[in-house]
Point group: C3
Chain length 300, copies 3
């Protein structure tokens, strides 16, 4: 594992190895990496993902370089490539990037000598979110084989949906989508069901955020009707299978994708996902740096 | 002491305990807290308060999560509650919040399981500023009993005035206000004096900043006349009581609240307040984490 | 050495001492400074310089205070002087400042009791960039005596040109400028050559960035013609002296100052400059804090 850029690059063994390491971290195993620096390049807004990486770095004892678009040379027109080469020249050991361009990492991975982590590329993928979703599901069910998983919402614009549909199918789950017609993505070979079918069939119901900031107001199915037509209402939650769980990558639009009162309900793993995200990112950083043979690990 | 949100929640014993701890820190006692993370959520501009907390965290050995409104999910419409719950899920041990809404913390404190510190709520309170003011006064006089203290300036919009008036009276001081009519706050049971009476009577003259950014231009008593009518001029400083001191929460509008040449005069404790602010915030963070029983303290 | 503000303040011995220390750092000598805090005040955009100082601080074990204009009291109209005095009162041990005003440091250095580092003052100087350039040249040639060095580009608006012209001449180099007429600076006693003469004569060709953000569009010699008229083309690179090197302070406008394909060519030391920048800044910080006798150094 040289980089973490797309779920398509990771073998099943690599995925299970990350899930195992994350579980060890949750169980209390402490890892400390000395004298390493991680840079965060976020060209799009983020709370959870950025802070999750920051927390992961803190817990590993890794220093952070905070790059922010507004006060940087990107204002002077510098390319992503030159920015990353600069970070490499400064001695950064790993770079985490969120960028609005799909597959922004293609040129970088050929020309950069440090590990890169994709923290979201345009409408492409979001592999670290996917890995924390996998981890949360694996904690619950101990397997992916034959699990019924429905991903519901704005499939077309969701990098989370793309990463998860691919990875979950590859690991043996039965994946379905539930989405308004205009948000379906015919390029992904997944069957569609209605939200009402989804709640009755699914072991895992993964709700997606209505990304108001990504599309024109006119393109949004009326937000006031979204919950009743496509979202998880109180009534639908009651029809969910025994033992089934609710995931959401957050931030949640309360009352849109999900009834406000369900965000912290018994089935919800939404805040647990965030908790798990720190562990999985610690596992990713640790493995990427270990792979490069540059790691001074102090296990204690 | 579970949170530090309002001076009204703190007992006298709790206040004196914080002042004692801060003095020990100033005297050189070193405290180190291992493997903790503090998040700073500032929804309003700040240099002093934010950096003071950062410095306090550095000196305690605590990691920081830097949340900034501009690059965060708040752009995506996330509520303060969900942001704080996210920080909790990520493993943050304490959250410091400045927010434009009065008493923003009411809902949070009922539903969040980590200590919260109010770093300024709208026109409400500013308890950590108040505590550093108390600390600076206590260092000077060793008591609050019967001290004459005048708070002068924009009382109406000042959270510092509200916190200090309550706390100082509670600790036995005689508190008065001096303010232009339009900036008086009739809801606080404190007598008003003129600035000329104030300089002659007060052991402590606490000047407030004219918060130009908080009110319409039209509502400001003409700035050019403010100093001569309501501010501390060279002439007025000469009439101050022997041993009396000048406080100001800063940033100072030089030549408005106070003559430029008095900012660093012998009576001024303005920069000492900032210095003290780091110690009092270290004491606050330390006590809040200790209280939760989650603390690994290394005293050395 | 009390501050690093202008190359004119540094003696040759002080410069050579910094270059020696930086080389020791590159060679693997590890320095660690305990319980110190460095503040970064950047009032202009920066990637390289800011992150270079951050990396230098991380590698020295120094804590950072991140000051950002947007979320700070500068919005409330606070002066640079009061901001720096505040940092001093908070216990900051060293302040690095970039500011759009020429010689912003004049008043500060008389009234502030902690070391200051100029990270770029308006159209004035950029001494730490100059020192990393000197270091890169010294690594290559082992001397400055009689080296032919041409600085090419927007001399008039370049603080890098001013710092380097002065320092290199002082160290014995033969310095020339190459620039379009409108970008010449008649106040600096340096001869001008054409870019074609420069490539044939120079041991070091230092290209400057066309600072599009600093002047009106109308004042820029047409960007599409800049490379062929004033920049380093493939053809010109072929005519460069054997053993000669190319420097650029970056960020590079690829295809403007230099052909895109030459940025990482054999003669280019552009990314090496960035790498060297961390070491020279570590040396600067270390010497400034040592000088103040406030240093707990752990050499290991």
């Amino acid at each position: 594992m040289e980089h973490v850029l797309s779920m398509k690059d990771l073998t099943r063994d690599e995925i299970y190895s990350l899930l195992d390491d994350a579980q060890k971290i949750i169980n209390g195993e402490q890892l400390h990496i000395q004298k390493k620096t991680l840079a965060l390049l976020f060209f799009e807004p983020s709370t959870r993902t950025k802070m999750s990486f920051e927390m992961a770095a803190h817990r590993l004892g890794i220093s952070l370089l905070h790059f922010t678009k507004d006060t940087s040379s990107v204002q002077k027109g510098e390319s992503l490539y030159d920015t990353v080469k600069t970070l490499e020249a400064l001695g950064t050991n790993l770079v985490v990037i969120r960028h609005p361009d799909d597959a922004f990492y293609q040129i970088l991975k050929e020309k950069v000598n440090i590990p890169l982590v994709n923290a979201g590329d345009g409408k492409g993928e979001h592999p670290t979110q996917c890995l924390l979703d996998l981890f949360t599901i694996y904690q619950e069910f101990g397997t992916f084989k034959n699990l019924n998983i429905t991903i519901a919402g704005d499939i077309l614009h969701s990098r989370v949906a793309k990463s998860n549909a691919y990875a979950l199918k590859n690991l043996g789950a039965v994946v379905k989508f539930a989405a308004p017609f205009i948000w379906r993505d015919e390029d992904i070979p997944v069957d569609y069901v209605s939200i009402d079918e989804a709640v009755e069939q699914s072991d895992v119901l993964m709700l997606l955020r209505v990304q108001k900031e990504r599309h024109q107001a006119s393109a949004i199915p009326q937000v006031e009707d979204y919950l009743s037509n496509y979202g998880l209402t109180i009534e639908r939650e009651k029809r969910m299978k025994q033992g089934s769980i609710i995931l959401h990558p957050a931030p949640v639009n309360r009352g849109v994708e999900i009834d406000d009162r369900l965000v912290e309900c018994k089935r919800s793993r939404i805040f647990k996902q965030m908790h798990n995200g720190v562990a999985i990112r610690m596992a990713i950083i640790h493995q990427l740096l270990k792979e490069r043979g540059k790691l001074n690990v102090v296990a204690n």
